[in-house]
């Protein structure tokens, strides 16, 4: 028990509220302007925010795990289709997107480091880089999607691509490639929506960063958005080989 609850966790700190009552009244000099009244200290406030974020991320993982299970079962029922389907996707575009997203994760981490070291310029620059990468990711995805719409590589009954015209004679036409594209569009679509949300959050952060909102003691919004962004990266790390590479 004592191993689980460490110094910075809200659980320990909630205990601290009762034991450290004397400290509570002193919202005067020395306290950050960002400290909300119902928190005891900035570290408690930040730890609470981060705990909430991690719980949300746990939920996100469970949400995506359903989609990954869908992939696993699709593969189980239609092995030939799933093994052949990588030829219908361009792994080079997928690889470029992987690098773009990994780089955006690096810049996001550097933006947070900028806040920790009170380097305002670094926060802004790295946030801008992260947003640019996120947009680049979506632009590449747009090209992939529009190509698929064009040739009819669509989910379920909407699948209308002529595989032999695409030069893929060896893919058995009697095993519903539409199933694979259902999985593909749902998984990459859910991921793409997360990227969009991330861009929105980072624009908000950029506005706040330019206002000078983030200081070494107070960058919870930046840090939590960073955690979210790394999770989006994490999902893609699995999506890329599963959809584009496995053969």
């Amino acid at each position: 028990m004592s191993d689980l609850i460490h110094d910075q966790t809200p659980l320990a700190q909630a205990h601290n509220v009762t034991s450290g009552a004397a400290d509570h009244g002193g919202h005067g000099a020395g306290h950050s302007r960002h400290l909300a009244h119902h928190f005891n200290s900035m570290s408690q406030q930040n730890a609470s925010a981060k705990l909430g974020m991690w719980l949300f991320l746990a939920q996100e993982l469970l949400f995506f795990s359903g989609l990954f299970l869908m992939y696993a079962l699709g593969r189980y029922f239609y092995p030939e289709t799933f093994l052949a389907a990588h030829e219908l996707l361009d792994w080079k575009l997928g690889a470029v997107n992987t690098v773009v997203l990994l780089f955006s994760s690096l810049t996001m981490a550097l933006a947070i480091r900028g806040a920790q070291t009170n380097n305002q310029k670094s926060i802004v620059t790295n946030l801008v880089l992260t947003i640019v990468c996120a947009c680049a990711f979506l632009v590449i995805k747009y090209f992939e999607y529009s190509h698929k719409f064009h040739v009819g590589l669509l989910p379920g009954k909407y699948f209308s691509a002529n595989l032999s015209e695409l030069g893929l004679h060896h893919i058995p036409a009697d095993f519903a490639p539409g199933v694979f594209f259902g999985v593909y569009f749902v998984m990459t679509g859910a991921h793409g929506i997360h990227v969009l949300v991330g861009i929105g959050l980072m624009i908000w952060l950029l506005v706040r960063a330019r206002r000078g909102d983030f200081e070494p003691q107070s960058y919870a919004a930046l840090e939590n958005t960073g955690l979210y962004w790394h999770l989006v990266d994490l999902i893609w790390i699995y999506l890329f080989p599963l959809l584009y590479l496995v053969r």
Partner: protein, 224 residues
């Protein structure tokens, strides 16, 4: 039982301000992690181009992806340096994901052991039979059925019926026979018998030819 660690007590004594609130990681560490992620990406792509057997390829791909994920979580997400409670939440979610996968996949894979008619291969044969029936109903009698059958058998060079094996196969388990990891669950389509509903292998080891040349027959009915 201690609810507050020594460090926390010190922090309270210092007025609630935790001196070591955040670990500022050195810049080279971030770049090293990013470099490692790039190298691992190259490895994933490289391995996929080798043309390993499907089961092995996916195992390697997932292993590499997991190393990458671990790097992101430990360093970019700071889990290695943060309070252990966040790691606990993260690992707890992984635990529940594992439960989710194990039970669902276990169910799908082992149904045939308990209820032979619900084995995956039986399901697939039924799907194919339904498809053929539809094609016949559409008036394209014979032609489509033969095409599909020919395409089907051409696609799987290593077609092997489970007939004779006796065991109600759990299709993918431990099968590393290359691209055709579906061996055994492929419908045993016979190009010659045009239009006839595919002879479905029942899982007791003998094939049960269903009556009728092209008559509409409910493929869901499996003679036992």
């Amino acid at each position: 039982m201690r609810f507050i660690s020594k460090k926390m007590e010190a922090s309270i004594a210092a007025g609630g301000h935790d001196a070591e609130e955040h670990h500022v990681l050195p810049l080279p560490l971030y770049f090293a992690v990013f470099g490692a992620l790039l190298v691992l990406t190259v490895i994933t792509v490289g391995v996929s181009l080798l043309g390993l057997p499907a089961q092995l390829a996916i195992a390697v791909a997932m292993a590499v992806a997991s190393v990458k994920a671990a790097l992101v979580v430990l360093y970019f997400m700071h889990l290695r340096y943060d309070a252990k409670f966040y790691s606990f939440i993260f690992i707890a979610s992984l635990f529940f994901i594992a439960l989710f996968f194990v039970f669902t996949i276990g169910d799908m894979a082992s149904r045939g052991l308990v209820i032979p008619e619900q084995a995956t291969e039986v399901w697939r044969n039924e799907q194919l039979a339904i498809k053929k029936e539809k094609a016949q109903a559409d008036g394209t009698t014979g032609g489509v059925g033969t095409d599909a059958a020919a395409g089907g058998s051409a696609a799987t060079g290593s077609e092997s019926n489970t007939a004779g094996g006796g065991a109600p196969a759990t299709p993918n388990a431990g099968d590393e026979s290359g691209g055709a990891n579906s061996a055994g669950e492929k419908p045993p389509a016979e190009p010659g018998a045009s239009g006839a509903p595919a002879t479905a292998p029942d899982t007791h080891g003998n094939t049960t030819p269903q009556e009728g040349g092209g008559t509409t027959e409910n493929p869901m009915q499996h003679p036992q």
